[in-house]
């Protein structure tokens, strides 16, 4: 490929005043950005704006230079849902009632009204409002009740307008990509062959130093974008080549430099590696959790098909539960404390035996904010993995942060111990 072609830029504009009050986090921006990146776009911005029309209009102007703009939200039935109107204004065309779309939405709403008992003028109004389409736009069939839109702005970007609920947005995505203006744009996008490396327990500054070493060693890094992202205890390093460049030599050098800390060299997640590892061994896993309180079990069960390798788990939050459900001896708790390497091992063994699993993992720790002592401060967490054939892996680190940090980091650490067990 020629070095003169640069990747077309794309931007995401997420609407919703509720996203600016902090009540909820935006899930659409990251999802759309990821998918645009995989299609080969360079995502320049994700903007979250309120439901004020002027702010949305300003945001569209700000990203006017992008080839593709994807918006989410503001297609609902209430008066603050104004995206279709603002995008029509941005494109300089009027809104028109799309009669087939109105009839289509009416059918959906009628079925819903029968099921829920809500009916009447509120629905009628919602129906008409949601069927208003900018002239010349492609309307995308609703996944919920709101249709999506693809609008080509003269001398501007192609704007894809999607609904706010993540399930509806994701369900409509294939139809959006298939719409003619988007399809035509996609044909002009060169694929980006980026590499993604994942490390555990490696500080960011080491990657910075390694990059300087690699460059000093003579490798040309111009035209390659490296981003590092520290996510609790995992460091993800993305190596993205510009047009005409390759990420491979640099990625291989980074892999060789920190092999001991490498989790995966192809971006595969720890969760996926654990699942594959358990399946390959034909193992089932059982959890005995105290401070993480079900987070580890929930994470293991997150993946479809997890019943093949997850037996189950016990959330043994109280001492009585540890003893009654997992057979942790009350004397052991009295002697060593509920947070101790001994109890972590007993939780692992108990979960494995009571649930008839091949591998057990026990976690007990001081999540805080209370309960810490000098010897066992907040953040002190004991882990143990045991298998039926005698493997024992134990750790008792002190993890930083507040209650939710400690619980999340504990769940991460537990996944990495499981990964060691299935790889060992």
């Amino acid at each position: 490929m020629s070095g003169s072609v640069s990747r077309p830029r794309a931007a995401v504009v997420v609407t919703g005043s509720e996203l600016l009050t902090g009540a909820i986090s935006d899930r659409n921006g990251p999802w759309v950005a990821q998918h645009l990146g995989e299609l080969g776009f360079e995502v320049s911005h994700v903007l979250v704006v309120g439901d004020r029309p002027a702010d949305l209009a300003d945001a569209l102007q700000f990203v006017r230079g992008a080839a593709l703009v994807v918006t989410s939200g503001g297609l609902g039935p209430t008066a603050d849902d104004l995206t279709a109107e603002v995008v029509a204004g941005f494109a300089g065309v009027p809104l028109e009632l799309d009669e087939p779309m109105r009839a289509h939405i009416a059918d959906i709403l009628a079925a819903w009204a029968r099921r829920t008992g809500f009916d009447g003028p509120a629905l009628e109004e919602a129906n008409r409002k949601q069927a208003m389409v900018p002239r010349g736009a492609t309307a995308l069939a609703p996944v919920g009740t709101a249709p999506g839109l693809v609008v080509t702005v003269p001398d501007g970007p192609v704007v894809v307008v999607l609904p706010g609920p993540p399930r509806e947005l994701q369900g409509m995505w294939p139809a959006a990509l298939a719409a003619e203006p988007v399809r035509a744009l996609l044909e002009s996008v060169p694929p980006a062959r980026s590499r993604s490396l994942r490390y555990f327990g490696l500080p960011e500054s080491e990657i910075a130093a390694t990059l300087r070493d690699i460059e000093a060693g003579g490798l040309d890094l111009s035209g390659i974008e490296v981003t590092t992202c520290l996510r609790r205890s995992e460091l993800e390093v993305d190596v993205r080549p510009g047009p005409g460049a390759s990420a491979d030599a640099l990625a291989d050098a980074l892999i060789a430099a920190h092999e001991r800390h490498l989790v995966s060299a192809d971006g595969t997640s720890t969760d996926e590696l654990v699942a594959t590892g358990l399946l390959d061994k034909g193992w089932t896993v059982a959890t005995g959790e105290s401070c993480t309180g079900g987070m580890l079990a929930s994470r293991l069960i997150d993946r479809a098909g997890s019943s093949a390798y997850v037996a189950g788990g016990v959330v043994a939050y109280s001492n009585a539960a540890k003893t009654a459900l997992l057979g942790v001896p009350a004397e052991m708790i009295a002697e060593h404390g509920a947070v101790s390497p001994e109890v972590a091992r007993a939780l692992a063994d108990g979960a494995r035996e009571r649930l008839g699993a091949d591998v057990g993992i026990g976690i007990t720790g001081v999540a805080g904010p209370g309960g810490g002592t000098e010897a066992k401060p907040v953040g002190y967490v004991c882990f143990c993995v045991t298998t039926a054939d005698g493997l024992v892996i134990a750790r008792d680190p002190r993890l930083p942060g507040g209650r939710s940090d400690v619980r999340e980091r504990s769940t991460d650490a537990a996944m990495h111990l499981l990964l060691r067990a299935v790889r060992g």
Copy 2:
């Protein structure tokens, strides 16, 4: 208060190319936005930009009209961490080495190097880079290793520059608010007395219709901003008055109109209501989870002090686990199926009895993507709450969405059943 004062606007600029690849979700934007809103600012935008300096500079220009801009990220040791430099450029001042800050960071790094064994020139470089401060700015002491900044831009906003790791950002927030330029700005901000209502099982279109009715009934809604946010099965309605207006009359009318669906009238979360309700009754709760796989237990334990009302739980994912750990009769599973109201009740009773709790909750359902039948399709979930004194509340809805939707909605529904039990 006079009607002519409008709330000052604030914007949040989050940097990090990793946030544009969709690898992780931004947690800082919502957090900062919420806190700015509570301080009385109108948050106009949350922008996420990559680590490219030109994009960050453009973003700062875009929000130049705000009174306050908070940035997060880009203060780390690597070459793509350029926020301090770009903000200095935005303010038109050079970067200078802050020697006391350099020494302070050196101490932090030295302690860290001793603990981890990482040391040497990479750390030296990181130290120097992180101590570069725009001339005239206030430097905020690091919570991790990166200092924050407060920069007053001539004829522009006050810019607060905070680190990207949420723990560090949140830890530095009080110091940022106490810095002189921010403190002076805060004195000019009128407090916003907004009201927040939370409903369960109420569609958005009903709120739209109710608002029209209320306005037709003669209540003046001008100067009041109403935002609705549907979050799975909960609808949050925020009523925000502009300067001189009051949210109370409208909020009271909305409460009266949909009392049956009201969860809370003061924004209190369902989780908080459940916790308070359990504490008030002096009850402990035990969970017997199948498809949610620990999500409910983990959510109950999320709150500090939860050991006072959470006994624990069992993740009985396999049929064998249901029988071995919670005493669900194997014949019951054979006759009615693992996903059945009968088994949900047996899970609730089993969890309650085995864990010695006052209230038990059982959840079993078809989370998908596989495993659905015509009679019990994906999304069919059975819930049961039982108490020692004979209360039984059961539900078996069909929930929409994919695997994670079904699991999350199931956890929501379970929390609402628990709320009914503690309120009943």
